[in-house]
Amino acid sequence: MKIISKLILFLLFSNSVLYAQKEVTGTIKDEAGTLLPGVNISEKGTSNGTVSDFDGNFTISVEENAVLVFSYLGFQAQEIEVSGKSVLNVVMANDQEALSEVVVIGYGAIERDKISSSVSTVEGEELTKVTASNPAESLQGKAAGVQVLSGGGNPGASPQILVRGITSNNGTQPLIVLDGVPLAQGTSLNFLNPNDIKNFQILKDASASAIYGSRASNGVVLITTKRGAAGKPTINFDFSQGFQRLEKINVANADEYIQVMNLRRTNDGSAPIYDQADYNTSTDWWDETIENFAPVTNLNLRASGGSENIKYAASVSYFKQESNYSKGFYEKVTARFNTDFQISDKISIKQDINPRVESYGNTPNVLYNVLRIDPLTPVYLPQDERTGNIFSIYEGSNNQVPNPVGSIARLFNETKFFGLMSNTQFNYEIIDGLNFNSQLGLNINHARQDVFNPTFFTTPNEQRQINNVTRRVDENFNYVWNNTINYTQDFGKHYLNVLGGVLFDSQTYNYVSAYREELPSDENPDLRYIDAAAGEGVSVGGNEAVETIFSGIFRGIYTYDDRYFFTGTIRADESSKFAEGNRLGVFPSVSVAWDVDSEEFFNVDFINNLRFKAGYGQIGNQNIDRNGQFFSIGTGNYVFGGSRVVSNYLSQFGNPALQWETVEDKNVGLTMAIFDNALDFSVEYYEKTSQDLLFNVELPNYTGIPGLVAQNVGSFESKGWDIQVGYNKTWGDFDMDLNMNVSTNQSKAVALAPGNEQLFGQNREDLGNRFIKITELGRTVGLFYGFETDGIFQNQTEINAHSSENGQLIQPDAQPGDLKFVDTNNDGVLNDDDLTTIGNPFPDFYGGFTANMSYKDFDFSMQWYGSFGNDVFNYPRTFMNAGTQDVNIAAGTLGRVWTPENPSAEFPRLTLNDRNGNYQRPSSLFIEDASYLRLRNVQFGYNLDIKGFQKFRVYVSGQNLFTITDYSGFDPEVSAGGDIINDFGIDYARYPVSKTYLVGLNLTL
C-alpha cells in the first residue's frame, strides 16, 4: 500500500515541482544483479519521489545536495547523497527481516514482523516447479508441520493436507481460505491454477487460526492469488509437456500359477486343479491393461499490469493428464481475472472472477484385478464363440476375477464441473487508519455426472442383462459475507491494530439424479441419455441441504518498539449443524513474542535475528454430518397380496446432544537468523488437546442401529516439533538456497467416553470381519490391530510346544509351515482376546529438503520428501503370496513360501483350506516398515538470452524419479482415504504415484 500511496502522491505532485534543478538517472539491481522495477525513490524531507521502471531505471529531478531514499519491500532502505552526481547505480541489499513484508492473517494483513503466532509461508513460485493438477500436491515437504498425503496417481486425484497431526477424526483437512473467502469443507484445490497463487500461508497454531473459530482446529491454509501492479504490462507464458510412467508389478506367469494352485491342493491332500498340458496361454494382464506412457500437458498464459487506479491480473490455463490405463483422464480450463479499483482516495474495490471447467472420468480402478486374475485366461473369447455385443467378447477368468480388459471397455463414467467464483471487496477509509471492509464471496459449482452401463455377458456372476444410464446434477451455492472494521495506528513506539466484524457463511447443496434402464443400443454413444431409455427400471432422486454459520470476531494486536508483540483474538460462532442450545461456540486466543535482537543489551554480531514466541488458544471443529442431530425416516418396499407396498424405517439414528469439538492449543517457538542472514532457523513445539471429540461411532450390531451415530466421545492430544533450517548464499554468479524441514508428531487418545473406550475402523471381511484399526485410551490413535505372529512352525515339535499350561495345543489345526500366532493374554487359547496393536502408521518424523541453485543462466532445483518410522498395512500381501482364494500371486512366490526345503521363508506354506487361518486373520505378517525418501522433483533450466523476452527459459524436469525404501509393496507413499485415523497407512494397491518426465518453457515478455 505504501508504494501505491507514494505513487499517487508522486503523480499528483510531480507536475507541480517547479524548482527542480538537477536530473539524476540510474539503474537499480539486487545483489544477484537482477533489475528491480518498482523501487521507491524519494527525496528526503520533501514529497518529491518516483519509482523505478520495468528495467530498473529511474529518472528524478532533485536539488543538488539532495539525499535520495531508495526503498523496496524485502530490501534494506538506502540513503544516498546526490552530491552533484547525475548517474546513480544502486545495489539494494536483501533485508531478511523486512522480507517478511505484508502477509495476510485472516480478515486483514500485517507486516510479518508483528505476528506472534505460528505461520508458515510457501511462495507460489515454489509450487509451480511441480506439474500437478492440484496445487496442494506441490506443498509436500515445503513447510514444517504440514503433511501432504497423496491422493494416488489417479488423474485429478486430490491429496489431503494434514497440519500438525490429528486431534480430530472428522474431516482432518484444514480450512482453506482463498483471498479471504473460506471454502466449504472438503473442497478440492483442483479448481486453482498453481500459477495464479502468490503464496500459501499456513496458520498452524490456535493463536493464528482462532480467528477462524469453529472450523480452525485442523489448521487454516490461506491462499492469496496474484494481483496486478501498476506499470508496464507483464505477459507470461508457461508450457510443459511430459508423460507419466508406472513401474511394472510382476506377477506369476502361467507355469508358476499352475504350480502354486496345484501345490495349494496337494499340500492339503486334495487333487491338483490344473494340468499344465491343458494350458498354452500365459496372459500378461499388466501389459494388456497398462499403457507405458500417459501424457500430461500444462499451458498457462497470464498478463498483469495497470495504472494507479486500475490494476489487473488475468490468466487462463489448460491442464490435461491421462491415466496409465487405456481410458481415463483429467482435464481443466481455468481463468482468473483479479482487478483492483481505486475509486477515490477513500474507497477501493477489488473484484476477482474465477470461472472454470473441469472434467474427469473413466479412470478404471482395476489394478487389484489386474494383479489377481489368473494368467491362464486369454483376454478375448475365440472369434467363433463371440455371440453377444462388443462388451461380451471377453473371456471369463478361470479364477472368477472379473476380466479387467472387459471392465475397462465397459466403463463410461464422466464428470464435468462448471464453476464460478466471485470475490468482491469494498474498502472505505473512514478516517486515517480506520477502515470499513465488506467482502462478498460467491461460489457456484455445477457438477454433472454421466454413467452408462452396457449389457454384457462374461459369466453368470459377471454380467448385466439390462443396460442403464444415470445422470446426476449437483448444484452448490455458497456465499460468504464478511464485514469488518479495522483500526491501525502507530503512537510513537506503540503500534495498535484492532479488528471487529460480523460474518455470514452459507452453503447450499442441491442435486437431482435420474436412472433409467433399457437403452436401444449399447454401442451408439448418441443414445446414452435418459430420453432414449424405455425400461421399467427408473430411479430418481433429489434433495437440498443447507449449512450456515453466523459469527462475530474481534482481534487486537499491540506491539511496543518492535521488541514486544502481543495478539489476542476471540471469535463466536453459531452453526446450524447443532440443535438450538448447542449452537454457540466461543474461541479465544492470545500470543506473545519477544524480539531479543532488537534489545539494546543484545550485541551478538553474528545473530541478525532472534525471536521467542508463545501462544495459547481454543479452536473448534464442526466437521460432522450436517444431519447428525436428526432421526430420519427411510423408504423401502415389501409385498403383500401380490402388490408392492411402501415400507418406512428409521434410516438414521441422530444425536440431538451433539456439540462443538474444541481444541486447546499451546505453542512455543524460536526463530533465528545468523551470519548475515545466510542461515535461518526456526523451531516450534506444540500441544493440542481436543475436547468433546466428534466421532461417527459404529454401535454394536445388536442395537440394530443403522449406520454410524455422531457422538462427542472424548479427547485426543497431539504434540510435536516443527524444525526448519534455511541456508541462502551468493558467491558471485552462483546462488544457492537450501531449505530443510523436519516435523514430529504424536497423536494419542487421552480420554474416551464410557462405551467408546475402543474406537474401531476398517472392517476387513476377508480377515475375519475384524477391524484392523483401533484407537484406545492412552495410545496413539488409529494403530493397526491384529494378531502378533512369531515366525513359522518348522515342525510338529514346535507346534506341540505352543501349548497351554495343561498341555492343550494353542493352534491345534496348525501344520509345519503355518504361522505361529502369539497367545497374547497367555490363557492357553488363541481367540479374539489375543488381538493386539501390531503397528503404527504414523511416522516418527517426516520432512522435506529443497535445493535451488543457479549459475548465470543455468538453474537447478530438487525436492526431496521423506517419511520415517511409519508402518504400512500391506494389504496386497493378503493374496500376493497365496491367501485364501485362487488369485494370482507375485512372481517368485514359490521361492518365498515355506517348504521343508525352504525353512527360512517369510511366508507360510501353500494351503487351500488354511485351517490355521494364516490368511484369515489380520496379523503382523501384513505390517511393514514403510519409511521412504523420495526425489519428488528435480529440474534443470536454462535461460536463453533472446531479444524481446525478459525471460526465455527452457527446462527439463522429473517427478518421483526414485525412491529409497525397504517397503516391499508398490508404493510406500500410500494414498490417504477419507477418514484419516481409519484409512491412513493402508496400502490397498490403488493407482500408485507414477514417475513423470517433463520438458517445459517459461516466457516473460
Partner: protein, 526 residues
C-alpha cells in the same frame, strides 16, 4: 456524504440481518421425514410395520437368505456345490472349516437385529398414535410376532444372544454394556411374546386379499409350536401344532409340485410366506434363490446343490413324487418344465450335477430378462405339512403314537406313499424324522432338525457328520455317484471336520465382539 449513506445502509442491513439470525441458523432436515413427527397417523404406523417384514428374508440376497442357504449346505442334504469359485467363506463353512468372519454370518446377525429394532420402535411408538383400536392391536401383534421370529432365528443359530426389547434403551449409555442372555432366556422371551401376540392376530381368512402375507394367528402358533419342539416341550408343541391344524385355515396342497410355484402365492398350504414379485423398478421385492442356487449354465450361481445322499433317501422310500419335485439331475428332463428335455447342471462346475427343483422356475414361467431380485417365486417360511410333522414328532415323544401315526399318514398319503400303521417306538420315531427330511428337503430345516434330534442324548448331526459320520463314510467309501466322485473341486469328505463340542452353534461375528468391547463373548471352540 453519499458514501456515508452507503455505509449506513450496509451497516443497517447487517444489523437487520443479524436480527434474523435464528432464521439464518435454523436449517431443517430436508427431503426426509423425522421420527418424532412420523408416528402421527394410522397409515404411517402401517408403513412402518411393513418395514419390519423386510428383514425376514433380507432386502438383498446376501443379507439374510444366503446364510440360510449356507446352513443348508452344512448338512447331508447339500453340497456347497459351486466348484468354479473358491470361496472359503462359503465352501469352508459347509465343510465345517468354519471361517467366523464370514460376511454372511455377520450380515445375518446385523440385519436380523435391524429387524428387531424396527419392531421395538413400532411397539413403542404405535400405542401413542390415535387410530382404530383393532388396527392398532393388530399392528402391534404383527410387530411382536416378527420380533419373536427374529429372536428365534438368532437363538437357534447362535445360542443365547443379547436381548434388546425397547427403543428407549438404545438412547442410554448402558446399551453399550449389554451381554448375551442365556439360550433359555431367549426361548422364554420368544414364547412369552408369541403368547401375547396370538390372540390379537387375525386368521388368514380374516385378512383382505391385499393384506395376504401379514402375520396371522396361524403363523404365530406355528412359530410357537416350533419353539416348543426345539426345546422338547413335547405336549405343548403337540397341542400348539394341533391348534393350527384344526383352525380350518389351511389344507395340504393336493399336488405336491404346486407348493413351490410362481403361480401359487399364498396357497392353501402356506402359513407364512415372503411373497416375491417381478418389478424391474426395484430389486428388493423379487426372489433371489432361483439365481443363487440355479445351474451355472442357466444364469445361476450354482450354490447349494442337493446331494446323492438325499436322492438315495427318496429312492429308498420309493418316493418318486417328491424326488422329482425336489431334485433336478444333470442330463434328465425337468419335471414340470416341458421345455427342458435334458437339463444341463454343469457337472464340471457343480459338485453333484444336481439342482434344487423347489427353487427352479420353468422356462415358460420366467420373467424377462430372468435375473436375481426379480423372480416371482415366493419363499414359504411355514406351511401346513411342517406343522403336521411337528405334531407327529411331538405326539410321538408325548407318548401318543396313534396321533403321531395319523399325522405321518396324512403327509405320505398326498405323495401316494403307504404308511405302515404298525410302526412303533424308535422305528416310528425314525420314520417321522425321515419323513421330515423328505417332505421339507431343501427348505432350510434340516440343520436345525439334525442338531435338536437326539439318539441316546447324542445329536443326530454328530452321527451323520464328523470323521466317522455316516454321510462322510458314504461319500468317501461307498458312493459311486458319477458326478460327486469325479468332481473333486469340493472335497469328498465334506463334514469330516464337524466337532460336536464346537459346531452345534455358529460363531458370533468377530466384528460384534470387537464393537461390544468383548462384552459379547464368542461361542466355545471358535
Amino acid at each position: 456524504m453519499r458514501r456515508i449513506y452507503i455505509l449506513i445502509a450496509i451497516v443497517g442491513g447487517l444489523v437487520l440481518n443479524a436480527c434474523d439470525k435464528d432464521d439464518f441458523l435454523d436449517q431443517p432436515l430436508r427431503g426426509r421425514q423425522q421420527l418424532d413427527d412420523y408416528f402421527s397417523t394410522a397409515e404411517n404406523s402401517e408403513l412402518f410395520v411393513n418395514s419390519i417384514y423386510s428383514q425376514v428374508n433380507g432386502e438383498s440376497w446376501y443379507q439374510i437368505e444366503f446364510f440360510r442357504q449356507i446352513c443348508e449346505m452344512s448338512t447331508d442334504d447339500n453340497w456347497a456345490g459351486n466348484t468354479e469359485q473358491p470361496r472359503p467363506d462359503i465352501t469352508g463353512i459347509a465343510a465345517y472349516n468354519v471361517f467366523p468372519g464370514s460376511s454372511y454370518i455377520n450380515s445375518f446377525w446385523e440385519f436380523t437385529y435391524i429387524g428387531i429394532t424396527r419392531a421395538n420402535i413400532a411397539l413403542e411408538r404405535i400405542p401413542e398414535v390415535e387410530m382404530d383400536e383393532d388396527l392398532k392391536s393388530r399392528l402391534l401383534a404383527e410387530a411382536r410376532f416378527l420380533r419373536a421370529w427374529y429372536y428365534f432365528d438368532l437363538v437357534r443359530n447362535f445360542g443365547g444372544v443379547p436381548i434388546v426389547t425397547t427403543y428407549t434403551e438404545l438412547l442410554e449409555p448402558e446399551i453399550r454394556d449389554v451381554t448375551r442372555s442365556s439360550e433359555d432366556e431367549v426361548y422364554d422371551y420368544v414364547e412369552s411374546e408369541l403368547e401375547l401376540a396370538i390372540p390379537d392376530l387375525p386368521l388368514k381368512s380374516e385378512y383382505a386379499a391385499n393384506d395376504l402375507g401379514r402375520a396371522t394367528r396361524g403363523a404365530a402358533q406355528t412359530l410357537l409350536a416350533k419353539a416348543y419342539l426345539y426345546r422338547e416341550k413335547w405336549p405343548e408343541a403337540r397341542d400348539m401344532a394341533a391348534q393350527v391344524i384344526q383352525s380350518g385355515q389351511y389344507q395340504l396342497e393336493p399336488n405336491f409340485a404346486d407348493i413351490h410355484s410362481v403361480n401359487n402365492h399364498h396357497g392353501v398350504e402356506s402359513i407364512f410366506e415372503v411373497e416375491m414379485i417381478t418389478n424391474f423398478q426395484f430389486t428388493d421385492i423379487g426372489g433371489t434363490i432361483s439365481t443363487t442356487s440355479g445351474s451355472r449354465t442357466d444364469q445361476g450361481w450354482g450354490w447349494c446343490v442337493p446331494s446323492s445322499d438325499l436322492e438315495n433317501a427318496f429312492l429308498e422310500e420309493g418316493d418318486e413324487v417328491r424326488l422329482r419335485s425336489t431334485i433336478i439331475k444333470h442330463g434328465e428332463p425337468v419335471f414340470g418344465d416341458p421345455e427342458v428335455e435334458s437339463f444341463d447342471a454343469a457337472p464340471t462346475r457343480n459338485k453333484s450335477g444336481r439342482i434344487n427343483r423347489k427353487a427352479y422356475i420353468p422356462i415358460a414361467d420366467r420373467e424377462s430378462p430372468y435375473m436375481i431380485g426379480q423372480h416371482a417365486l415366493p419363499v414359504i417360511r411355514f406351511r401346513l405339512a411342517d406343522v403336521i410333522l411337528i405334531h407327529a414328532e411331538a405326539a410321538y415323544f408325548s407318548g401318543n403314537e396313534q396321533a403321531a401315526l395319523e399325522s405321518l399318514r396324512q403327509i405320505r398319503e398326498r405323495v401316494s406313499l403307504d404308511t405302515d400303521m404298525s410302526l412303533s417306538g424308535v422305528e416310528l420315531r425314525d420314520a417321522i424324522w425321515k419323513e421330515r427330511r423328505l417332505e421339507l428337503a431343501l427348505e432350510q430345516q434340516r440343520l436345525y432338525d439334525l442338531r435338536r434330534q437326539r439318539v441316546n442324548g447324542m445329536p443326530r448331526i454328530a452321527s451323520i457328520l464328523g470323521p466317522n459320520g455316516s454321510f462322510v463314510e458314504y461319500n468317501t467309501e461307498e458312493s459311486t455317484d458319477p458326478f460327486e466322485t469325479t468332481n473333486l473341486g469340493e472335497a469328498q469328505n465334506k463334514g469330516a471336520l464337524f466337532d460336536p463340542s464346537v459346531h452345534m452353534l455358529w460363531p458370533i461375528p468377530p466384528e460384534e465382539i470387537q464393537l461390544s468391547r468383548g462384552n459379547i463373548t464368542q461361542n466355545p471352540g471358535y
